[in-house]
Symmetry: C2
Subunit: 348 residues, 2 copies
DNA sequence: CTGAAAGCGCTTACAG
DNA sequence: CTGAAAGCGCTTACAG
């Protein structure tokens, strides 16, 4: 073992480098490098000698050096609005699966709904710490995204969410149709007073879902009953809005379409507290089909998104962009209405 | 803008480097570097000239180059057993807060209960891609941990979990006392047939909790009633074990102490299905106080861990180790029994 | 306080 | 197929 002379290093012993391997294999560092990067360019004899030498000295390539030389980081930043939202875990699994297979790492950037955080993560690209950004939130400074999307060397893909006025490569679901499907179902059960509990009103996916809600009611001649309340996707906002929406009144809704399962579960709690039986007197539909939706009382009717697939496809698309390969810039994946016990026929 | 000559680079335009700044500021690259790293070593005039030049050319330091030179990565790997467990989100927040403040990034390594994954993440250290590992799972190859802990240049901290026979720097709670507390409480409510629904039996924290359960029952002369079932911390295993444990019989338990909230919520579903009213005929205690525990029916009595604090302290400890600063190698943080509606006096 | 120079550990175009 | 050499973009001990 060599002692390192690099001041400031916390290691007392230096790791073996490619030079040590070259010496042990009695070849040049170029050959060692080639053996690792493109073994087919090297004779089998050399390959074996180098492999043995690598094992012998305990060599592991210094990735910082490789990254510097290759001007890449093999790292993808995935920006989430909030890591505590269980909706994202399967998407993350999907992304990581594809990324790892392609030799990329995924750095998860939890923005905690703070655009400043997002900005800090964007800066990883110009500093060579990331090769691309996978946006799973629209809560980022729009100017930043516009800038990035205008650059040719800023690979950026959006999944789940989108911007109404920036044409980013996107993997998404059809939020409009999903909402229509949910509302059609409620109407078919006999509901006439259907409220939407939306996520943040400015959020494009919520706007799409509200539009689907609008149009479906209109199609059924129920435009007078349109009522949209706003939450933040979380349990608590669902509970609080539930208490308000379900307060005793002649026009109490008989059904609530929620833009997230967490909000729907909050509404269920409010209904319980107000002694409103679900689904007898109130139907509730959620969105996302998180694991918890099967364990709440009653089990939640909800719209399922192909989360693993969203993660996989978004990552595939991003990697294609990074490699300058041709790719389909937009994909819309399908959703499914999962009927459980929180919805039922209207009982007047 | 210069065109880059680096083959294989996907950028058409090279980013400005420290040389460009030096030229614009009419000084050496050393001075630019110093202005950035230790401004106090540079006159104010120079500092200003350099700052202007940086803004002018749009310079951002290439972190891969810095990392190579400094032999550090400013990255921490945090290994989780399973990112979909909501227990970890606040811990992650706590870790990231401290890490970011100290200039470190956190790479979250989701091991998906697969030791091979953990091994891949461990390899980030010798390849200079990470400066330390924060272990939040014991599901890693023990030999790897032993090796790592024997090395002086492998900063490693464990949080939440621990190994019975490896003395790692650790931030943890007192699982034994937490269990005693829960069981004492159930006994005080009149329960005599108390079952523990444990996590994986080999898991040291579960062993500690089971020990607390044992000792408390013994202290109350209830050793005959000891019964431990095993789950995997998830909803489904709680539900399935609940169906088994609660099947009609004279010795059906009147209380179940679960090693996770998810399992407790699964048990609640099983009880509902079997028409066993909670808490009238069955008390259930969870562990962790995840957000969902307030929204299930009935609201869950559970043991709360200071999750944010665990994340913060673990990261502080790890960074101290990386910097070779003195640090307290073991900390035990306190827990709290949160009584809600899933527990009550025994009604025979 | 500042600059010239060496060097971190790789990779790759070029020549043989 | 292989090697010598240049260079990726920084940082820092050394000298002035």
């Amino acid at each position: 073992m060599l002692t390192t002379s690099l001041p400031g290093s916390r290691n007392i012993y230096a790791m073996p480098t490619i030079k040590d391997v070259a010496k042990a294999a009695r070849c040049s560092t170029a050959t060692v490098s080639r053996t690792l990067a493109s073994p087919e360019k090297v004779t089998e004899a050399t390959r074996e000698r180098v492999s043995r030498a690598i094992a012998e000295v305990g060599y592991a390539p210094n990735v910082a050096a490789r990254n510097l030389r290759r001007a890449e980081s093999k790292t993808i930043v995935a920006l989430l609005p909030d890591i505590s939202n269980p909706f994202f875990s399967e998407i993350i699994n999907g992304m990581e699966e594809v990324a790892h297979q392609a030799g990329y790492q995924v750095l998860i950037g939890d923005c905690e709904h703070d655009p400043a955080r997002a900005e800090a993560y964007f800066r990883l690209l110009p500093t060579n710490q990331a090769d691309g950004v996978l946006l799973l939130t629209a809560e980022v400074p729009v100017s930043l995204v516009q800038q990035a999307s205008a650059q040719t060397n800023f690979p950026l893909v959006m999944a789940c969410e989108f911007f109404a006025d920036i044409d980013l490569p996107t993997i998404t679901i059809d939020n409009y149709q999903a909402a229509r499907h949910a509302i059609d179902y409620l109407v078919s059960l006999g509901h006439r007073r259907i409220v939407t509990l939306s996520g943040p009103a400015a959020n494009p996916i919520c706007i799409e879902r509200v539009r689907g809600y609008h149009d479906t009611l209109a199609a059924h001649g129920l435009s007078d009953a349109i009522h949209v309340a706003e939450g933040d996707f979380g349990f608590r906002s669902g509970y609080l809005q539930g208490l308000t929406l379900l307060a005793p009144s002649n026009t109490r809704p008989t059904a609530i379409f929620c833009h997230s399962d967490e909000m729907a579960i909050g509404v269920l709690k409010a209904a319980r507290q107000l002694d409103i039986p679900v689904p007898e007197k109130l139907s509730v539909i959620g969105f996302d089909n998180i694991g918890f939706s099967e364990y709440c009382e009653p089990e939640l009717t909800t719209i399922s998104q192909p989360r693993t697939q969203i993660g996989q496809q978004a990552m595939r698309l991003l990697i294609s962009l990074i490699k300058n390969e041709p790719a389909v810039r937009h994909q819309t994946l399908s959703t499914q209405l999962i009927v459980r016990q929180s919805t039922g026929k209207i009982q007047s």
